[in-house]
Assembly symmetry: C2
Homo-oligomer: 299 residues x 2
């Protein structure tokens, strides 16, 4: 079985295209590493790079990326709308095929230690790799941004997991960790009443009492004049698509509103759709090994 881990490093440069090109070139020169996507945003002054490979390829590629970013990005000058603590701001590792979450946690620790050692950039481990519960959420780790990092790191609760006890003078710190793939999932309602979507969002999201791995808000789709529950699914294995869909459907009916459709924005893991099919078809004893293409590919 091919062993594939995804990594989505975010770098704090989205304006100087020559710097982004240099970073991408360094990644592309790494044997075994694939660069699937590069998205730069000038307002955010940030680029999101999507990479896949095995542990060896990812470690080599990310060290090459740090080489460029540490040399070329200076957070003392960098400004943008997106919060950031580092030149390489955040590096998640995501299990895709033949690799587990513990494999990704181990990789975050290995690459984090290597980066701290070679570049003197302090590393904070987050999400599944976090060394304490208060360091789990990215937003909490990043609060105060680069400018507040020197003060924040004097607090023992914010000592880095690897590297020096203070920020790198120009490259700040990097938040590195492991997480499940995200699914951006929206459910469209047969109503123009935004309030209904907002109430349903509140019912399903973790922060207000809903499902553990759901973030949600109500929004208007102006072009279609309908309200939408806009959802981020942060762990589709523990909180599956079909359960959220059924809950939204049932909550909407309480207002006499139907679900008119749903949409997946961007990518979705194959297993998330298979789990939904399994649920609705009431499949008994189904194994993913029964998927023809898996057998044909020899996964």
């Amino acid at each position: 079985m091919a062993r594939i881990i995804e990594s989505v490093p975010n770098i704090s440069e989205g304006r100087r295209s020559e710097v982004v090109a240099e970073a991408v070139a360094a990644l592309r020169q790494t044997p075994g590493l694939r660069v699937l996507d590069v998205q730069s945003d000038a307002d955010h002054n940030r680029s999101v790079l999507t990479l896949t490979g095995d542990e060896k390829a990812l470690e080599a590629g990310l060290l090459a990326l740090f080489e460029v970013a540490v040399a070329r990005i200076d957070l003392r000058q960098q400004r943008g709308e997106h919060p950031r603590v580092g030149a390489v701001d955040v590096v998640p590792f995501i299990p895709i095929e033949g690799a587990s979450m513990p494999d990704c946690v181990a990789l975050a620790r290995k690459v984090g230690a290597a980066v701290a050692d070679r570049f003197g950039v302090p590393i904070f481990l987050y999400e599944e790799a976090a060394s304490a519960p208060h360091r789990h959420n990215l937003e909490d780790v990043r609060r105060g941004q680069f400018e507040g990092l020197g003060t924040k790191m004097q607090d023992a609760a914010w000592a880095p997991d690897f590297g020096p006890r203070g920020p790198h003078e120009s490259a700040g710190a990097t938040v590195m960790g492991a997480r499940m793939p995200l699914i951006a999932y929206n459910i469209n309602l047969g109503t123009s009443d935004l309030e209904v979507a907002k109430r349903i969002a509140k019912a399903i999201r973790h922060s207000s009492g809903g499902y553990r791995h759901v973030k949600a808000m109500g929004v208007m789709l102006e072009a279609r004049n309908i309200a939408q529950v806009s959802i981020n699914m942060t762990d589709y294995k523990k909180t599956p698509l079909h359960r959220v869909f059924e809950t939204v459907r049932s909550e909407a009916l309480r207002y006499g509103v139907n679900v008119v459709g749903s949409e997946i924005v961007g990518l979705v893991p194959e297993a998330a759709l298979q789990d939904a099919a399994e649920h609705f078809l009431r499949l008994e004893g189904f194994s993913k090994d029964q998927v023809l293409e898996r057998k044909v590919r020899g996964d």
Copy 2:
């Protein structure tokens, strides 16, 4: 994108394991061909070989298989429970990835012509590759078996698509064609009344007025004391799983019976499950390109 076609040749030998081993060895020596599965049945005196590869690998492998089968299997002596017309009895080609049904029809014609030319074995094209409607179903082409073939082929309606106007003296003829992957799909009912399962099977199967690509019958699951609608889905793209499931559910309710579960026996194409998820989640504008693993694999 990898170009993958599946072929499932059935040979009329399931007792002499050395002959089967020789056939499999010939296949395994073909570059680019994978032998996924070999199932021999002594009562049927038949072996089912599951192969994948691109056109070139399949053509080379099948010619090597005919070489062994024509030399080693003599239908004048061969006896078994399973009906057969040839040493290599039937060879379907099935599109899996990056190949279409017309590609598989073209391959059946190409390999069929090559086999007729090299071995003097007449070829009948069937299913999607059939040259006339009455030659579409395997059962119709095979009716009369090897023993009746000489007489049958004197009828102009049963002239072969390739090769001589009479059977090969020991190897008979081969039925070659293209079809969709089959899905063996069973739906379990919350009743011990077999009659309900039989009525539902009748309602959904093509032969008695139901869906075009459904074969079905009612059976008892003795161990669980429940009735089951046992289904063969012959084209999941045109008659999808979810539609059959919903129809069975609705027909069962007419007798006050619930669907307690369903099961897929053997393999199922990834797209069949994705189509079901799409249906039940009411997905709008979903594309298979959004499946993360496809993107990662670079399909």
